[in-house]
Symmetry: C2
């Protein structure tokens, strides 16, 4: 039961109303891997530059995250700089320096090729398919994407989606990808493109999941202190896929997870994400314990439970 | 077990991307009363003009809605005209003709003075207090307000809130009233003003309730066809207070409803609101059955339920 994650490993410079963090560890694969590592071993594929050192690698060490696939290339590590509005509800990208990430061609180490679960971080959909070509027969492929690819490479993205089991995107992306404003209609159109399960992330408003069994709504945990939303979506994905991978027993045939397991995975993703936003970078996730995770999962139950009439 | 509702009874002219409705029945007290009437008898206090006829009154008749308190004044009925954006997420007020509503001074008929539950629709907070002065000893006072009063009469509003048990407002209003962006902090500040329970309505993103027992999150029902959002908030309030009134047994002391009952009431409010938006005006509510309500309540349970890990 291991997960292959392919995505960015980056330096983030983040400004929020509460402070500023300079060149701290970020990137979709970083948040995903650390979140998923609470549940199962993770195989990380990404690229960093020569400026990426032991201090940064320490975040991944000792957590069951395999780094053979973390390529080191001449040049500098991907650097993203963003600034959040006073209410944290919108952000402006100050600069994006792709650096070595511009030349990223995912190479899947032989040891990773039998990974049973795959998470395709938000990269070029052509590269996402090249990853799938290099793995043997995953039981579950989950995928993220963004407006840049929806607009820029819609055909390639659709070819990728044909091979995806679970797509995780935000509400604006779901509307853009489907051309439907109504989210129920958007979900139907997107599921017709391939993904049996669609997760629509709505930030502080939580998550909607659409499966063949219907829909599931989970709120975001109402936190008193949201410090930095960066990475919350990837952390959600890590908790979601991580829990799924841990919950699926060994089996020959690769059935899609059932609704009970998928719903638990959504809440687990929301749980991990609620910790992520409590501090800059991966700081909160790196000092998180399984006991804290289980306790907050129970709080989600308490937050949403009601009795029949 | 009856509810006194005081608020507007109006003609609405509504334009949505799906059509236009001219001078149809609207107003906060109308939506509230019809929604609440599925649960308990309702005493309606409002004012209409000479142009309000038998056809409009028919909506209230035969549903346990007492109309002795619906005053008829020389002049025309309050008329509101609004136009929704293509995504129904924002609306523009085209015109507001207060007409007789400008001179509304709620007069509570003697028969209504022992109403056990009171809903103060969105009117001048001074008038809201005058209503409370005319009722004997209600078990529960629920209240709505809006940005106009929060900005224009903050002192009067606060005096009213000291006498309110449940405040129902939207997220923007909660932020404005408290001066806090974070909704958890906003809720704490508002509850300190008087209301033991705060309901924050978030439209398509559902509802958050804050009580002394913590918080409760309920989604909006993901509908494939949202036709006209007008009145959804008042319909929510009608379902919420209506269910509460029906669930509280007769008792001498007036205890605040417990969390189990409050949560059911939130879901009942969301259930009623989900029907309201399926058609113009009160059209859907007027042909709604208790069986349909109970069925959708069960769908809400299915939409939100997940198992422990």
């Amino acid at each position: 039961m291991s997960i292959l994650v392919v995505g960015s490993v980056a330096y983030d410079t983040v400004e929020t109303p509460f402070g500023r963090a300079e060149r701290v560890l970020g990137g979709s694969a970083s948040f995903f891997a650390v979140a998923a590592s609470f549940f199962v071993p993770v195989n990380l594929v990404g690229v960093v530059g020569r400026d990426f050192g032991e201090k940064q690698l320490a975040a991944f060490r000792g957590r069951g995250i395999d780094l053979e696939g973390l390529e080191r290339m001449d040049g500098e590590t991907f650097h993203w700089q963003g600034k959040y509005s006073y209410d944290l509800n919108s952000r402006e990208t100050v600069c994006t320096e792709l650096n070595v990430f511009e030349f990223f061609k995912p190479k899947i180490p032989v040891r990773y090729q039998q990974s049973e679960h795959v998470f395709l971080g938000n990269i070029d959909p052509v590269l996402q398919r090249e990853v799938l070509d290099q793995v043997e027969r995953p039981r579950l492929v989950a995928c993220d994407t963004m407006n840049f690819w929806i607009e820029g490479k819609p055909g390639e993205l659709k070819r990728t989606l044909e091979r995806v089991d679970v797509l995780l995107i935000n509400d604006a992306e779901a509307r853009q990808l489907s051309g439907e404003w109504n989210i129920v209609k958007a979900a139907r159109a997107i599921r017709a493109l391939g993904p049996r399960t669609l997760i629509v992330k709505k930030g502080e408003h939580g998550v909607l999941m659409f499966t063949e069994d219907g829909s599931f709504a989970a709120p975001a945990y109402p936190l008193e202190e949201v410090f930095d939303p960066t990475g919350a979506g990837d952390t959600f994905a890590g908790g979601f896929v991580g829990y799924l991978a841990s919950a699926l027993g060994p089996t020959e045939a690769p059935p899609h997870p059932d609704d009970v397991v998928l719903r638990r995975a959504v809440v687990m993703g929301s749980t991990l994400a609620s910790f992520c936003v409590e501090a800059f970078s991966l700081d909160r996730l790196l000092r998180l314990t399984r006991t804290e995770i289980d306790e907050r999962y129970r709080l989600f139950k308490r937050l949403t439970h009601f009795e029949s009439v």
